[in-house]
Amino acid sequence: MTRVIEVENLTKIYKGNIKAVDDISFDVNEGALFGFLGPNGAGKTTTIKLLTTLASITSGKATVLGHDVSKQPNMVRKSIGIVPQDLTIDNELKGNENIMLAAKLYHVPNHVAKKRVEDLLELVGLTDAANRLVSTYSGGMRKRLELIVGLVHEPKVLFMDEPTLGLDVNTRKIIWDYIRELNKEKRVTIFMTTHYLEEADALCDVAAIIDRGKIRAQGSPQELKEIIGGEVITIELTKERDLQDFFSSIKGVKEVKKLGSTYGIKLGMAEDAIPAIIDGIYARGVKIKALSCSKPSLDQVFLEVTGKEFREEESAEAASRRQDIIARRG
């Protein structure tokens, strides 16, 4: 299989010694839908900027379709499409004018462009709104327009930075279908970033988990889940008790993690161990407040490989970091 994107020991250090991307390596095969999964500030956008020639590489190497990103930027630019994280369509132009302008910038002949623009607008359901100024669009409509503006020159590789950020569940599902269609039917190789685990799980063939500039794990969502192994049961006790040693001693338990009064217990074969765990808890005079048993999810993989809870990271520290980023951009 041809490798469409090759990244070797890529590092980006911004001014002020901020190491946004730290020695990462990965390949994306032709036709793949590659997901870059990580919390805010992980270095996802920076990686896209490096691969799309928008930021200079500090060290390491990256090629897209065989073209060196730093040595042949124009060759790379011709063959890629970008859907940036921030909405960047021009509000003061109409929907179709935005795409036609993109077509001109990529030297798509006029008659070809007209047909494509129609098809693309149809694809995201914007045909009726095409002739309106974008300033009259809703946020979801803008996002959908943004998705197709980068496609009018039929790029072989598409970079999407958090394509479903800030969309409602319904629109997100529509966009997922659209991304799948692009990838499976139009055979566009897609590199997308997301901080929604379920998104990577639902869409991607291959995903890499990135945190603080480093890739912590990569593989198909299935392979990533296998890092966790079998099922995981989560038990919340009515009060905090140290039962770590007891759980660990039960046959079939692979690993025990404690978070306050909640335990995450990783099992080889759940059926054998569950009764023993429950009996043991009651025998020690402790009551169970909640119990759930789950197939491994990428959430747990994330917890496993980064040693921290995904959502927690997203809320506090990263929220302030995101503020920083917005402030700096503004």
Binding site: R77, T88, K104
Partner: protein
């Protein structure tokens, strides 16, 4: 490069036309200037009329216009060339404005990630600004002609003189738009742009012969005014208006100066922009 430059220029102009306020102001402002400067600032009115009989006053006015204002029939006629030059300076000053916004809203990144020549990003703003300045200047020219006791063209004025006036203004606009676009190339804030524009505009204006003849200035200012491109454009325009179809050699020096001014700034601005747009 041509396709992209044209497409991006059209984008600028579309956005301009769609903001009626900006078009209206671009037209209205210079008309107000002419009306205000032309009547309130009329230097020939500064002499108290009590010092002489009306006949003597009229003579004094006439001789001021004759000697100081290069034989212009009235102050508005003297002023028009200056106001047109100013109009183009002021419209050019915000030439980089859309760049600042494009950078801020991420549109610039989209342009930079596309395989367009970086020069087209620069040139499109420059060309759009020139158009945005030339259209109002045409309108102002005809408006000044049509107001009572307004602009009076020399009877020998021909179409060629008219074209030369607009060539002069075009060169001035091209030069200043290039300068101001290049300055804005790395700016991220509208406020910085306004600051720079304010810093440059008024000194450029007052060190020129746009409003008053160079001879009324102190020596040091005269030295500056003589090399100020606004003076060159204002003087050339004025000469064409007041003297009509003239011996070209009289304005040739000014025109050559402006051609050099426009060419150097466009090329230097273009190169500076390409450097400024390099990936960090």
């Amino acid at each position: 490069m041509l396709t992209e430059t044209l497409a991006l220029t059209v984008r600028e102009l579309k956005k301009w036309i769609r903001t009626p306020a900006s078009v209206f102001i671009a037209l209205f402002q210079p008309l107000v200037w002419i009306a205000l400067f032309g009547s309130a600032f009329n230097p020939t009115n500064l002499i108290p009329s009590s010092i002489a009989t009306p006949e003597v006053m009229a003579q004094i006015r006439q001789s001021i216009l004759g000697q100081t204002f290069g034989n212009a029939p009235n102050y508005i006629t003297y002023l028009t060339g200056g106001i047109l030059s100013l109009l183009l300076l002021f419209t050019s000053a915000f030439s980089g404005g859309s760049l600042v916004l494009d950078r801020r809203f991420g549109y610039l990144n989209k342009l930079l990630a596309s395989p367009i020549s970086r020069a087209s990003i620069f040139l499109s703003r420059v060309f759009a600004t020139v158009v945005k300045g030339m259209i109002p200047s045409l309108i102002v020219f005809f408006a000044a002609l049509s107001i009572p006791d307004g602009l009076k063209l020399n009877p020998s004025f021909t179409l060629l003189d008219g074209l030369l006036i607009f060539l002069t203004l075009f060169l001035l606009s091209l030069g200043f738009s290039s300068l101001f676009t290049a300055i804005a190339m790395r700016m991220t804030k509208w406020e910085s742009l306004v600051a720079v524009v304010n810093l440059l505009n008024l000194p450029l204006l007052f060190s020129s012969s746009a409003l008053l003849p160079v001879t009324s200035m102190p020596d040091w200012l005269q030295a500056i005014a003589k090399i100020n491109p606004i003076s060159k454009a204002a003087d050339a325009t004025r000469t064409l208006i007041v003297q009509g179809s003239v011996d070209l050699s009289i304005i040739m020096l000014n025109l050559t100066y402006l051609i050099a001014f426009a060419a150097i700034l466009t090329i230097a601005g273009g190169i500076a922009s390409i450097i400024a747009l390099r990936t960090e």
